[in-house]
Assembly symmetry: C2
Homo-oligomer: 174 residues x 2
């Protein structure tokens, strides 16, 4: 935190909303991203939407109206962003959010890690932090919908597909 | 609406929160529940929690702390209750709620119809209304997690399981 504070003191004009109050350094064991000074996570939902769009573009997601993205962030229970700090610049390299009834269920959406930082345990660190924050709110049912190619990733994080035969279903207009 | 207003005018002391402003009569084609005068749906989240618990008991659900149930209702995007009106009494016979980011995704939870009213198209009416309300908010991704014995029911309502291989997953503590 002290490091973080020192790094950004005097950057009032920054468009970023990172602050010491709502960011935590990430402990990532094993491979360190090449040249990365530090990776931090933030819980601030007030992200620069263009920065977020750029991240989503990098993984090939379809663009979504920024008006709706803003609304989704405002109405998410938890919004986590992951940043690489290098000198006095920072770069958005990961994101995830969850909707919730704040009592029983939380559902995780839009988990993304920039391709430059994939396979470096960043996604795992992001998800571990998400689970920790949800659990801290005494919510026991944590769910998500996983694309086929990431089922193995979530399986390794303690997620079970179709437990007791429960099926994820999506509504399609007739 | 006029019928409804007439029925409950002067019931200020009622513990129920039904009102003409947030209730709609349900059109159910086919079999009418025996003796049922009318079935109405309400969007009021301020339900009598004991009445709701009684309904959930009737289908054998585990009891949940009412404090958390209240919080879940307060933080649900849409709460729908279904009532049977008979004379000037009303009885809670169905319930469903949804969480949402109010932009892209809505997830439906806790769909329940009293056993006395099951197989009478009540569940279908409840779900159709839920889908209609979600769609009216311009939310395109409607999801749920279905127990094995109700997958067929949701399938008949336009829900598709594991579309394009997307899997519903639940987190379990290690």
């Amino acid at each position: 935190m002290v490091f973080w504070k020192g790094l950004f003191s005097g950057t009032e004009s920054s468009s970023s909303t990172l602050s010491a109050a709502n960011s935590v350094p990430v402990q990532i064991t094993g491979i360190k991203p090449p040249g990365a000074n530090q990776i931090v996570l933030s819980l601030d939902p007030n992200l620069d939407l263009y920065e977020l769009e750029e991240l989503c573009d990098a993984v090939g997601w379809s663009r979504r109206p920024l008006r709706k993205v803003r609304k989704a962030l405002q109405n998410s229970f938890i919004v986590i962003s992951m940043w690489e700090l290098r000198g006095n610049t920072r770069r958005l390299i990961g994101f995830a959010r969850a909707t919730s009834d704040r009592a029983f269920n939380a559902t995780i959406w839009d988990v993304v890690v920039h391709p430059d930082f994939q396979s470096k345990r960043m996604g795992k660190a992001l998800m571990k932090y998400m689970i920790k924050k949800i659990r801290a709110e005494d919510i026991s049912n944590i769910t998500l919908f996983a694309d086929p190619h990431v089922v193995g990733f979530y399986d390794g994080m303690g997620f079970v597909e179709d437990p007791e035969g429960i099926k994820g279903m999506f509504w399609y207009p007739e």
